[in-house]
Amino acid sequence: MAGPRWTDRLMGIDRRFLFIVIAVAVTLPLLFPVNLPISVSPRVRAAYETIDAVPNGSPILLSLDYEPDVMAELQPMAIAVLRHCFRKNLKPVVLTLYPAAPGLIERALAIASEAEGKKRNVDYVFLGYKSGSQAVILGMGESIRGLFPKDFWGTPLDEIPIMKGIDSYAGFPLVVNLSGSKIADYYIQIAHTRYHRPLVLGSTAVMATDYYPYLSSKQLLGLIGGMKGAAEYERLIDIVGDARKGMDAQSLVHVVIVALVLLGNVAFLSSRGRGARPGGGAS
């Protein structure tokens, strides 16, 4: 009886070997960076130019809605967008609709404000977390103070100069939402479609492809998708953050995964060609 074919041996490979290959593919470029150049996609450039077009000194509403599970993609994005806003002297009014986000946002604000020499409640406001998602997004169309009478650190909004005369979406020329979930849909439905605020979205890569219809209909003016989008934004504002540092590893792992997929298909087609049972099994 003939021994196992190379295709069967290949398909029967222990998955832990594949895990080691992936681990090495991630680690090596981080230890020995090549700094491959990053080209900027049209959608990220559109997001950048939309924020750049906001008049200097204007307030801008920033809703940072992500938790630790997706912070790898959205935290570098938040820092890059905040630094861009600070360089333009825009006054970000930041809030979150995710209960586990305030700690991450405090850190992002600390990093961005320290890098650009900005001060709390003078150059930016952090309203903190409010439960209710759609309720909060709807409520901001009527009264922000009704939802957030004080900022995250307990200062009444009336005592913060940035918030003077601002109590709803009408006070912001632009809304930016960095989101890892359906919160993005609510901002499109409510902040843009109902209250007619221009909207830029940053999302995880998993969600990004779903928002192209909204770009076409101009319900979104720009889209920053995933860690690659964050890296592109970092390139546009000429900083080297965690996203840009991770792009070499991203490239190598993608090459590895494509190679694995092609290898698997070569084995599959080879097995099929010989009339054997096609390879493949549980992962």
């Binding site: 594949l18 992936i22 700690g103 209710g132 492809t209 490239s251 092609l262 290898l263 298909n265 992962s283």
Partner: protein, 205 residues
Amino acid sequence: MNVGPLIVTFLTGATLIAIFFIPHHLAQKLQSTLLEWAAVVYAFALILGSMSLWAVHQRKIKARGTGWPFSLVTLGALVVMTTGGVFQGIEEGTVVNWLYNAANSPLASTMFSLLAFFIASAAFRAFRARNTEATLLLLTAIVMMFGRVSIGEYVWSGFPAVTEWLLDVPNLAAKRAIAIGIGLGAVSTALKIILGIERSYLGRS
């Protein structure tokens, strides 16, 4: 037995729909109040979930089920975080904040990062060009994976442009149809709930 709750659903749902068309400040105030109430109910739903979690693990500990010491870890962590959060707060410098940064945040991130390994393994074993449709999916995925990383441009300078075209044309077309389908489904389900046709959310009588 469900008539009362069904009437409540109808009244609240119809009210919120009507308020959408009424810009008067009293209507908007009513909407804000109702939504605030919903937020309080949601908080109690989380309490309900935690009590249920407690009951499951308590039963396991009592019965000395498999892995019962780990249930002690879960309940211990739940008690510490809840007590700390209620009495000390959640700001920087509190026990809750420390545990959030030391445990919650890294555990959540790492759990999700495991998926990178499994997606690679699954792609190797199961992603097959079995027919025309699967081949189309496979080729698009490969173009995407090359087109969205720096190395793709080195392999072929046209990758980024092809990637953008795939996203702006076929992907847009399909996702638009899916978005409209989801919208129609959401609206019809919401209307069925408001009108009392759909009652599964109330549970069995």
